[in-house]
């Protein structure tokens, strides 16, 4: 196959046209980012950081009951929208594969967990609670009425809500529990 003169001219033309383009001056490419926010259309719910006690405000972006984003609440007078590394990671406390979603039960001496229905477990706990309470209840000690359940400890938490703490105290005291504590002895 011979390349004819005409063919060559065509090829040369194409190459030189390309080259001419290649020699154009460089214009800075401009990119207009106008993407929608991933939080678009999500409900903004004011919540609080669950870690330390500064009490930073957080805004949860919720769509269809699911958390899509969680960041600082800019209108909060203490935190002013700011969060620390823990606070900024709060999203992952809720959206996390490792989370427990079913009741786990470990039988005496067993070496593995079993999944159980919530209501069954709650009823079983109530039965044991009652049995232990009934067995260890001290109504009178040295003649004095003391109404004390010595056999159960209720360890609450400084990470739970006020309302929950109040319920712990109300239920535990009514059951006679004195070993009612949380981790922070001050």
């Amino acid at each position: 196959m011979d390349v004819s003169r005409r063919n060559f001219l065509k090829l040369a033309g194409a190459v030189s046209a390309g080259s001419a383009l290649g020699g154009l001056s460089m214009a800075r490419p401009i990119h207009a980012y106008a993407k929608d926010l991933p939080t678009k259309g999500a409900k903004e719910v004011p919540t609080l950081c669950p870690y330390c006690a500064v009490g930073c405000g957080q805004i949860a972006h919720v769509r269809d009951g699911k958390l899509v984003n969680l960041e600082g609440d800019a209108s909060h007078p203490i935190s002013r929208g700011r969060l620390c590394s823990k606070g900024a990671a709060t999203y992952q406390m809720t959206v996390n594969d490792r989370r427990l979603t079913k009741v786990l039960y470990r039988a005496p001496g067993a070496s593995e967990w079993q999944e159980k229905p919530y209501d069954w477990a709650l009823q079983e706990v109530a039965k044991r609670f009652k049995a232990t309470r009934d067995a260890t209840f001290v109504e009178k000690d040295g003649g004095a009425l003391v109404n004390r359940c010595d056999g159960i400890a209720w360890i609450g938490s400084a990470c739970t809500d006020n309302e929950e703490c109040y319920l712990f105290a109300k239920l535990a005291r009514s059951a006679g529990i004195v070993s009612l504590e949380h981790q922070a002895r001050l």
């Binding site: 003169r5 060559f8 001219l9 040369a12 190459v15 030189s16 390309g18 080259s19 001419a20 383009l21 290649g22 020699g23 154009l24 001056s25 460089m26 800075r28 490419p29 401009i30 990119h31 207009a32 980012y33 106008a34 993407k35 929608d36 926010l37 991933p38 984003n69 969680l70 960041e71 600082g72 800019a74 929208g81 700011r82 969060l83 620390c84 590394s85 606070g87 900024a88 990671a89 999203y91 992952q92």
Partner: protein
């Protein structure tokens, strides 16, 4: 002129790394596997899934010790080398009005020119997805009038976000105040690239080299030679060769050898 900027004041940084996590949260970036090697830092470098890193460095200082905490990420340079190097239209670009430099993951082909071009080595190549990743300046947040995630979360205000001129003025004030305690305190970034500067700049307590930063960030000479010298010449070079051949052909014509159509055995 770009309008938005971030100003990182290392004298205010407490190294809490809220910036790192807030960035991961907003961008939903996965964790990197890390191991303790002797310092709080644990994350050795930026990665395709870590856009913002705090470095920890200890130095003896006036009978006590100084703990240098530096939260760093993309500098979002004006006339950015990464943008200059990028061969794909729209893959690595700079916003004309806001000034940030961002990768479009859909357009990025993973050629890694930007990895090489960046004076700080900020863009990181992710082999799995074959794209380069780096701080986006929270482009979609910024375009929707929100603060960048890192600046918003910074507890002590060490990362400030806002109007570039305003932040530059604030930085100048801060550097004067800081010099009383840290004599070598300086602003880093606005002077880069012969004054074109970066859109993320720092108040450093020490010389940039102390933090492992290039003292005067410039695009490499090689990149300049390539893009500013070789590239405009390319068209001319190849064109001239072709045209030369053409002229040669027209002027001199083909070699005057003609096939005779008969045997040319040696006689």
């Amino acid at each position: 002129m770009p309008k938005l900027a971030m100003f990182v004041d290392v004298t205010k940084c407490v190294g809490c790394r809220a910036c790192t996590v807030a960035c991961k949260q907003w961008n939903k970036l996965p964790m990197d596997k890390t191991h303790f090697t002797g310092s709080y830092q644990n994350l050795p470098d930026l990665t395709p899934t870590t856009y913002r890193l705090v470095t920890f460095k200890e130095e003896p200082f006036g009978g006590s010790v100084s703990w240098h905490l530096l939260s760093h990420s993309c500098f979002h340079c004006n006339d950015a080398p990464c943008v200059k190097a990028c061969p794909v239209p729209g893959a690595m670009t700079q916003s004309a009005d806001k000034g940030y430099v961002a990768v479009d993951r859909k357009k990025c082909i993973g050629c890694k020119y930007c990895v090489t071009a960046c004076p700080w080595g900020i863009p990181k190549y992710e082999s799995k997805s074959e794209v380069v990743a780096k701080c986006t300046f929270c482009a979609e947040r910024v375009e929707n009038n929100l603060t960048t995630a890192c600046a918003k979360s910074c507890p002590t205000g060490a990362i400030a976000f806002g109007d570039r001129d305003g932040l530059l003025a604030a930085a100048k004030k801060r550097v004067e105040a800081s010099k009383k305690i840290f004599p070598k305190a300086q602003i880093y970034g606005p002077g880069a690239y012969g004054g074109k500067g970066t859109n993320v700049f720092y108040l450093l307590k020490e010389e940039p080299s102390f933090y492992g930063l290039p003292p005067e960030p410039v695009a490499s000479a090689a990149l300049g030679l390539w893009k500013d010298v070789l590239r405009p010449l390319t068209g001319w070079g190849i064109g001239a060769t072709v045209i030369g051949a053409l002229i040669h052909y027209l002027a001199k014509g083909p070699a005057d050898y003609e096939e005779k159509g008969e045997g040319h055995g040696r006689s």
